[in-house]
């Protein structure tokens, strides 16, 4: 039985990774999950300098999901390379570094700093709805998206995954723009912008007013977007949004995703990634699927 998949020439032992920002750099969850079992660890967004993120409250629960407005708090690329990449080097799993910035220059500089590290792939977060500059501004405008993709591709040593925002009219167009600009893969979806109001206090629940919606609630939107993007591009797609079970993951794979990521579900059950991996194996056994690649985009 083959569960390994390949993204831009990088082979993952299985298609299951962690979604950026929900798993830190794996340090905290390594108490629960054997990181060696994961297809890849995708790290929290890292910028050139330390970012302190948004005021609290930063998280809120919603029906079947959650909102977050962390605002990309992170220690900056220096500490990240020294501590987090060093930590991950002990594990037999792929390392995907999620990169954020306020300007194209910042993104590019982080990408360059990662050139000679053990990072296997770079995921460019142009879709965080929780910061004022950079991020989603690039992810909602096809032209800006194409430009930043090109600039990053010029300098990147590792294959580049562009992480797309669902807060757009036409996700297939955005994926196509990335492909045309040279991206090696696209990942989707980042969170959908949402809001929660405390009606007793008549106040926004999040200090940032809006936050990004994730969790099972958004899965149908994410599966649809993966399907639409898969119909428009040839580069591999990493699918995410509400995955909490092997069945969820398989929906994404059948819709056209080469790999999948588990995000908010880690908070509900820290063992989710392992359960998804085991469940996919079980599905393959039960349904006599010898190679997971047969399932990619197989929906009819």
């Amino acid at each position: 039985m083959n569960t390994s998949v390949s993204i831009a020439g990088i082979t993952l032992k299985n298609p299951v990774m962690t979604a950026s920002g929900t798993f830190g750099s794996g340090i905290e969850y390594s108490e629960f999950v054997d990181l060696n079992k994961l297809g890849a660890v995708v790290t929290k967004g890292v910028s050139l300098t330390p970012w302190s993120g948004n005021p609290t409250p930063r998280v809120a629960e919603t029906y079947g999901g959650m909102l977050n407005a962390i605002g990309l708090q992170n220690p900056g690329i220096d500490t990240f390379i020294e501590r987090d990449l060093a930590f991950l080097s002990k594990y037999d799993t792929r390392i995907i570094v999620n990169v954020c910035g306020k300007t194209t220059g910042e993104y590019v500089e982080v990408v360059e700093r990662l050139a000679d590290t053990n990072a296997d792939l770079l995921e460019i977060n142009v879709s965080c709805p929780n910061v004022k500059e950079g991020a989603i501004a690039f992810g909602q405008d096809p032209k800006a998206l194409g430009n930043i993709t090109k600039e990053i591709k010029k300098k990147a040593k590792q294959p580049v995954i562009m992480k797309l925002s669902p807060n757009v009219t036409d996700i297939a167009l955005m994926a196509k723009v990335c492909e045309d600009a040279g991206a090696d893969a696209v990942s989707m979806i980042n969170t959908i912008t949402g809001m929660k109001i405390d009606v007793r206090r008549r106040r926004f629940v999040l200090a940032n007013k809006t936050g990004g919606l994730s969790g099972p609630a958004i899965k149908p939107v994410a599966v649809r977007m993966v399907y639409q993007a898969a119909s428009a591009v040839k580069i591999p797609i990493i699918g995410m949004g509400g995955i909490a079970s092997a069945e969820d993951a398989l929906e994404f794979i059948m819709a056209g995703a080469t790999a999948v990521a588990v995000g908010a579900a880690n908070f509900t059950d820290p063992y989710t990634t392992e359960k998804v991996i085991d469940g996919i194996g079980q599905y393959m056994t039960d349904n006599k699927v010898s190679d997971i690649n047969e399932l990619i985009g197989c929906v009819e």
Binding site: E28, P50, S52, R58, V59, Y63, A264, F267
Partner: protein, 263 residues
């Protein structure tokens, strides 16, 4: 060691209007200490994030051990917990965070006096702390009124207890700080949990007394283990994790030296 498991409710009782006490049986008890908390999951599929609840008492005499949670109904999740009865099951993750004793380990001698200050629903963690401390314990508990008092018997049997009520219906009229000043309480160190304004008062008090204060902080959480960066509070120094001024309450706290955090 942190455990995710399905715990069983052993008993549940109402302590006073809206405040409940629940004992659960869980292997997490074995690793728990005063001031840590556990993440309690709802049985509703609509509510996916856990509710952080402090550990009020720990019973390690049996295996699996037992934990006592004392909580106030604040919304749908705690309301659900309050309806549970013996034999019901609920998922938990814990013990989480660093307790009260971690920062003072080795620094407490039997001739010292520890002042424990709890305000409202911040009182529960003081009980296990009072029981765990090997020195003299004075507890000051603040309530809104005599009608809303709970855990007083338990606290009394674990040390000297003073009470303050906002409306003066029992003990000192006013805040816990008023009670401490009024009773001229002296101590070698302070431990506190309660609303932010109270913690500010405690910080000032500790400074004026020239003793350290260890305070338990609260923030909305998602992961509970330090991975999501949801639950930060502003710290006076650059934090180790993100190199900014944000400590993670779930992982770096919930107990901090009052001088470490900005209130």
């Amino acid at each position: 060691m942190k455990i995710k498991e399905t715990a069983a409710v052993i008993s549940q009782e109402s302590l006073c209007g809206g405040v409940y006490s629940m004992w659960i049986e869980t292997n997490a008890a074995e690793y728990a200490s005063a001031g840590q908390f556990i993440s309690v999951y709802s049985n509703s599929d609509a509510r996916l994030l856990p509710r952080p609840i402090s550990i009020c008492e720990i019973d390690k005499t049996s295996k699996p051990g037992k934990l006592r949670l004392v909580y106030r109904i604040a919304g749908a999740g705690t309301d659900e917990f309050s309806r549970m009865t013996t034999g019901d099951r609920l998922d938990i993750l814990g013990p989480l965070g660093n307790g009260f004793l971690a920062p003072v380990s080795g620094e407490i001698s039997p001739d010292m006096t520890a002042l424990l200050i709890g305000g409202g629903i911040g009182i529960p963690p003081m009980l296990e702390l009072a029981k765990s401390l090997t020195c003299s314990v004075i507890t000051v508990a603040g309530y809104r009124s005599s009608m809303e008092m709970f855990l007083t018997d338990d606290l009394e049997s674990a040390g000297k207890l003073y009470i303050a009520t906002d409306d003066g219906s029992f003990g000192t009229k006013g805040t816990v700080i008023d009670a401490i000043r009024g009773e001229k309480i002296e101590a070698d160190m302070i431990f506190a949990c309660g609303p932010k304004p109270m913690l500010k008062g405690v910080k000032d008090l500790a400074e004026s007394m020239g003793v350290p204060a260890y305070i338990s902080m609260e923030e909305r959480m998602a992961c509970g283990v330090g991975a999501c960066l949801g639950c930060v509070c502003e710290s006076t120094a650059i934090d180790d994790h993100s190199k900014v001024n944000n400590k993670r309450i779930c992982a770096d706290g919930p107990v901090f030296n009052a001088s470490e955090v900005v209130l």
